[in-house]
């Protein structure tokens, strides 16, 4: 099957192939994405982030089933860190999502973060577009909340749920204000364990201290990822938040910001590649000169850019 028509029909093989081409930065990937772009924008993207072992994959599993009960198609992208030493990655999120594998209305893809420095790779942005064009109603992106990816997720998700677990104690204090602010919904998972209510109080206190007083307080929900308790409420809350975003025009604003950022990143990426390839020799010569203090790198960069004028 040809890839573009295949994807538009929701064929999983075609979806899988294009995501691989995207991950491998194959030349044809960008052409195919160009053709698909006009079919995107219909899916709601939901980011699930939080520390390793918090129960994110378990929650995604129950949540995806809820969406299916409501006849919605679901794409899942589960991102785990790539080892900076080997370039390999262990991607284990499917362990918690086994029941979803044979559902026709679900596609799951595990991705390594690859080149991205702690953040989300460019490939994950494009993979979301593929699933969107393939007709998924909801796209769930699971990311481990370490460092940059926690904040990066807002560049990808319309709605962000931050999963925390009891026993984190002081860690809630340690969560940077910027990270607390990206959450549209707080999920207190493992609420079968001691300390769930205390964690909720801590989150509330943290929000009171750091949040803009005029902003609506994000809802805080208790779940149990092993049994599915609380997932029905989480589902309802997601739908409510989605409605608010749509009715207030916030969703369009978020997407406009996202496209603007993406455009800037693309310009940077393409332009840099062009300059580096056409000024290879010059860059090498300047490197030698800078090493010998015959020129400083600031002047060298300006010199090259002036010669690269469009």
């Amino acid at each position: 099957m040809d890839i573009v028509p295949g994807i538009l029909k929701g064929d999983k093989r075609s979806i899988a192939r294009l995501i691989t081409l995207i991950e491998n930065q194959a030349d044809e990937a960008r052409d195919l994405l160009k053709q698909l772009y006009k079919f995107t924008g219909n899916a709601i993207t939901l980011g699930i982030t939080g520390p390793p072992g918090a129960g994110k994959s378990s929650i995604v599993n129950f949540l995806a089933k809820k969406f299916r009960e409501n006849n919605k198609k679901v794409g899942v992208i589960a991102i785990d860190p790539t080892s900076p030493f080997s370039g390999g990655a262990l991607l284990g999120d499917r362990i918690r999502m086994q029941d979803l594998t044979l559902d026709d209305g679900i596609y799951i893809r595990s991705m390594g973060s690859r080149g991205a420095l702690g953040g989300l790779s460019r490939a994950s942005y494009d993979a979301v577009k593929v699933l969107d064009a393939a007709g998924m109603d909801y796209i769930i992106i699971e990311t481990v909340g370490v460092g940059q990816s926690e904040v990066d997720i807002i560049k990808l998700a319309d709605i962000v749920a931050l999963v925390l677990i009891p026993g984190m104690g002081d860690e809630v204090q340690a969560i940077k204000a910027g990270v607390m602010e990206i959450a549209d919904i707080f999920v207190v998972n493992k609420s079968d364990m001691d300390g769930a209510d205390r964690l909720i109080t801590e989150i509330q206190m943290n929000l009171d201290l750091n949040q803009d007083k005029n902003k609506v307080k994000p809802p805080i929900l208790k779940t149990v990822g092993t049994t599915g308790e609380g997932i029905a409420d989480l589902y309802k809350t997601i739908i409510d938040v989605q409605k608010q975003l749509q009715d207030s025009g916030m969703l369009t604003n978020k997407r406009k910001t996202r496209i603007n950022q993406e455009l800037q990143e693309l310009i940077r990426e393409i332009h840099l590649k062009q300059i580096i390839s056409s000024f290879e020799t010059q860059i090498r010569i300047f490197t030698e000169k800078a090493l010998n203090k015959e020129i400083d790198p600031y002047s060298a960069a300006v010199y090259i850019l002036e010669n690269a004028k469009l």
Binding site: T20, S83, S86, G87, G88, A89, T101, Y107, I108
Partner: protein, 133 residues
């Protein structure tokens, strides 16, 4: 510009046995050799394994089994891959498998069988030599 290709491997445990230490050791060794390893957990049916392999677009499926049902489960995976036109995926097996069963499994389409005691480096090397990237 064409970027680099990373080998993607699905490690699955079909059958009913409840241990996955061996599978996890192999998964880690493959990761440390630069591969992306999708680990799907215990008690996978051949149908689930093949569907996951297609969604994840892996080049290799590694099946690990201790329970003795390999003569049924391994060939079943190959059969389903053929049905789905995905027989380009390389399938290898490991676990407790009697010597006399190996020729039959290879004939069914399993590319290689690694019995206990095989160093993980041999598995890494086999995959690197046999996957077209």
């Amino acid at each position: 510009m064409t970027g680099s290709k990373t080998i993607r491997v699905l490690i699955a445990k079909p059958g009913l046995d409840g241990h996955d230490r061996g599978a996890k050791v192999i998964a880690r060794a493959l990761r440390d050799s630069g591969m992306e390893v999708i680990y799907t957990g215990l008690r996978q049916t051949p149908e689930q394994i093949v569907e996951a392999a297609i969604q994840e677009d892996v080049q290799v499926i590694g099946l690990s089994i201790l329970s003795g049902a390999h003569n049924f489960l391994f060939p079943r995976v190959i059969e389903l891959l053929k049905e789905k036109n995905a027989e380009d995926i390389l399938v290898i097996g490991g676990g407790v498998i009697p010597e006399e069963d190996i020729p039959g499994l290879k004939k069914a389409g399993i590319k290689e069988i690694f019995t206990p005691g095989t160093p993980t480096s041999a598995i890494v090397e086999f995959i690197k030599n046999n996957v077209k990237v």
